[in-house]
Symmetry: C2
Subunit: 489 residues, 2 copies
């Protein structure tokens, strides 16, 4: 089952060949390939979802939603590339009066990087796996993809890979444009191989950092788009707490247990002005009792969760507010500590418990929340529950400095795929300043190239004055209006 | 003169404070600060240019042009940020019918990274130095800058730094927003300091790689935007050679000796269908005789040039076509070899001779230029001299893969500051997929942040429905047309 180094080399070489054949095709043609993949995933939905249920303990509804999301994502990206948003085409005509001296005719657009290595995540067998966000954005960018399968859903991943390959073949894409590999050795070769030009990764901080280091140490370093860890703090103001404490606790209980707490956006910290912790225990217990428990995604992940939970639980000053249990499908755990304890041991704020556990931090009335927030490291998300008239400028500034998505009276789990989405944040949340979700993710796998003083006949399509691809462009500093009419997907 | 570690720490802390005070101001206010800097550079032009002449062996005309370029660049960037191009503001209103399930209201724009360390280059005392492209783009992005002075023009850099600081103070910018440091220890601290969030660098491949490694090894790695080395190959087709050989040789001689060959875009390789090398020696000699020689920028640089020239000259199969000399102001050297020799020893194509020397590579009629180009590593530029009707699709594809700017019947020296410019290319040309010249350089020092489900009253200006900053935005997938009318600077 493990992919040998020889096979991996062959797949990467084939991917590079496919990339070379496909790098200059029109966005319309590329979109037709993505369309075929989207259709194939829909056609095989029953089979794939059934495989997912067998391998992951995730229920059918969740898996169907993830698959639907992946299909939607492909279609949104199709629309995006047909409009040429990812090309960032910019034309500066020659200008003898240019302020620093005559400028030549110079035109720029973005081209795909080449072969991209994508590492699947354990926790989203569709959305962050074989044909998840990284693969979809790399293919949309015009790259070829070699996908490292996560062994937590091995059979599903192999089958999904086959469905994708079949669809691409049917669509007429060059062989090798997409393939999958299995095993650690193959994965390391994927990061090291000179023909691999970028890596997309979703996984643990330790594993991600090791691969980031590997990518950076190469003779020719490559960008490593890693989404690693995040604790996703939630701050509840005193006003919000007075106004709707029950509602906040209900939302919190639902969010941190969603997917058995195995979301990278799980709210792992709740800062609230709680006088007596017992006051909230009842509500939390009642809410948590309504949640269905299931086994975690893998024994390895369970082991990590138990260890992390133990570490936080045994930290001085941390108490158990709602005890979980050690059954195969563990009941959720709520721990509690105080702002004072956290100021003593801020490292507790960096302990990700990947699973159904969270830490409540009680603060006293009048506490400076901005100062508390200043103890946090980089996060994917940071949430505020407050009343709309409050002046939270300082707190929001500090949280913005530390995260990629700010939420107001909402919960961070659930990351919609849109134009404005940002899924990424300061290290260790991610290893880059980019997003791995949303249309902006496509640009990660491209780089700009300028054409200087080219005659019309030698310019690539996106840069020709007659704009044969009908894409939106910036000409002499002014963006053209949407060409064909930009409809929502 | 050397900045102590204590001083460096203080300056970085002051820069961070200044950044915190200034990160949320309007682009208009920020532009007014850049305006004051531009005016101050113009006001002090005579003094600064005179200092530059004393320290660099560069003539007055060249230095005045560089200063004019720097001033123009600041004003172009002002215009860019006032129109909000750098903010990439994107608004997705809540949509219950969104294809993957209801989406919340989600809005994104880009925020500055924080303190940026900028390393000045030796070869452009204005354009890539204290207030060069990296500093200007970092300030335009909303970052604070600590600039590492290049000791090749120490007094000029100190004085320029003082002029910039004075101007920023006069404009009302917070103290510490811009400062300069001197010395290696301070420079290393700049790359290591936790409050430094990105580095801009222009310099040698060895030095740049060492600092890239340092930035990547940090507990919290930061982006390192390094522009390192480039040989800038030029390919002359057989048709072009027949049509205008003299004109090409004249342009080549002028381009590779510009600034005594101390440009990162100097054409270091000319591939031409030369039958007998002696045929071109006369023309080159005649052209080169018209060039004024001057000493190189520094003794260290001269030493490096002599060593690199020696290494290439002593490579088997390389002959001297036009000998230079060893005087203080060295005459230019043209070396010559053949395509066959290069195929034997492709490593010769990686030898940058930073100074007035270049290598001509003779190829035989019928040679596959695309295959030859395939031997090249990453470049800032690649140039083709050809006739407009020729089919060069394969050659251009290979060159595009290996460079950031392609030129047609032009010369790579001279990098205009425009919207479409791309100054950067695959490693080792640069360590990132970005540009260090042109308006697109600003985005390097920013990162996206999304606001999810925020009430109108709590949204930052660029994301409010009433668009108080009047910037161009993408709303529900459709870009608004230019708001205030985008005029060229």
């Amino acid at each position: 089952m493990i992919t040998t180094l020889e096979q991996t080399n062959e797949q990467i070489a084939a991917a590079h060949n496919a990339y070379e054949q496909a790098r200059e095709i029109s966005p319309q043609l590329r979109a037709s390939w993505l369309a075929e993949v989207a259709t194939a995933l829909e056609t095989h939905a029953d089979e794939l979802v059934a495989l997912g249920q067998q391998e992951t303990h995730l229920d059918e509804g969740r898996l169907r939603f993830e698959l639907r999301r992946s299909v939607f994502q492909l279609r949104l990206f199709m629309d995006e590339i047909v409009h040429g948003e990812h090309l960032d085409a910019t034309i500066d005509h020659a200008d003898p009066t240019w302020g620093m001296g005559p400028r030549p005719d110079i035109r720029r657009f973005s081209v795909p990087l080449g072969v991209v290595g994508v590492f699947g995540a354990s926790n989203f067998p569709f959305a962050f796996s074989v044909m998840g966000g990284d693969s979809a954005s790399a293919l949309a960018a015009g790259c070829a993809v070699v996908h490292k399968i996560h062994e937590g859903h091995l059979r599903l991943a192999i089958r999904t890979g086959a469905v994708v390959q079949e669809a691409l073949e049917k669509a007429g894409a060059p062989a090798g444009l997409f393939s999958t590999i299995i095993g650690r050795q193959a994965a390391e070769l994927l990061v090291d191989h000179p023909l691999v030009k970028a890596v997309g990764f979703t996984g643990s901080t330790a594993g991600g950092r090791a691969l980031f280091d590997r990518a950076s140490r190469r003779p020719v370093p490559i960008p490593f788009y890693g989404e690693l860890g995040s604790i996703n703090p939630v701050f509840v103001t005193e006003q919000a707490w007075s106004a709707r404490r029950e509602q906040i606790l209900t939302g919190y209980a639902a969010s941190f247990t969603m997917g058995m707490g195995q979301f990278c956006t799980k709210p792992g910290l709740l800062f609230a002005p709680i006088n007596d912790a017992d006051d909230i225990a009842d509500t939390l217990r009642r809410e948590l009792d309504t949640k269905q428990a299931s086994p975690l995604l893998s024994p390895k992940l369970r082991e990590g969760f138990d260890k992390a939970l133990d570490a936080v639980r045994s930290t001085p000053g941390v108490d158990v507010l709602v005890p979980g249990d050690e059954s195969e499908a563990p009941r959720p755990t709520v721990l509690v500590t105080t702002a004072d304890e956290v100021r003593e041991r801020p490292e507790i704020l960096e302990q990700e418990m990947f699973g159904p556990a969270t830490l409540v931090i009680r603060y006293s009335p009048g506490t400076d929340l901005a100062e508390l927030a200043g103890l946090l490291h980089g996060q994917l998300t940071a949430t505020v529950h407050a009343e709309s008239g409050e002046d939270l400028a300082r707190l929001l500034s500090v949280l913005r400095e530390r995260s990629g998505r700010l939420l107001w009276n909402a919960w961070p789990t659930g990351v919609t795929v849109t134009y404005a989405q940002q899924h990424g944040g300061p290290y260790p949340a991610t290893t880059a300043t980019t997003t791995s979700v949303g249309t902006a993710a496509i640009g990660r796998f491209m780089r700009p190239v300028a054409y200087d003083s080219f005659p019309a006949s030698q310019l690539p399509e996106p840069l020709r004055d007659d704009n044969p691809w009908r894409i939106r462009r910036r000409v002499d500093g002014i963006w053209e209006s949407a060409a064909a009419g930009m409809e929502n997907a």
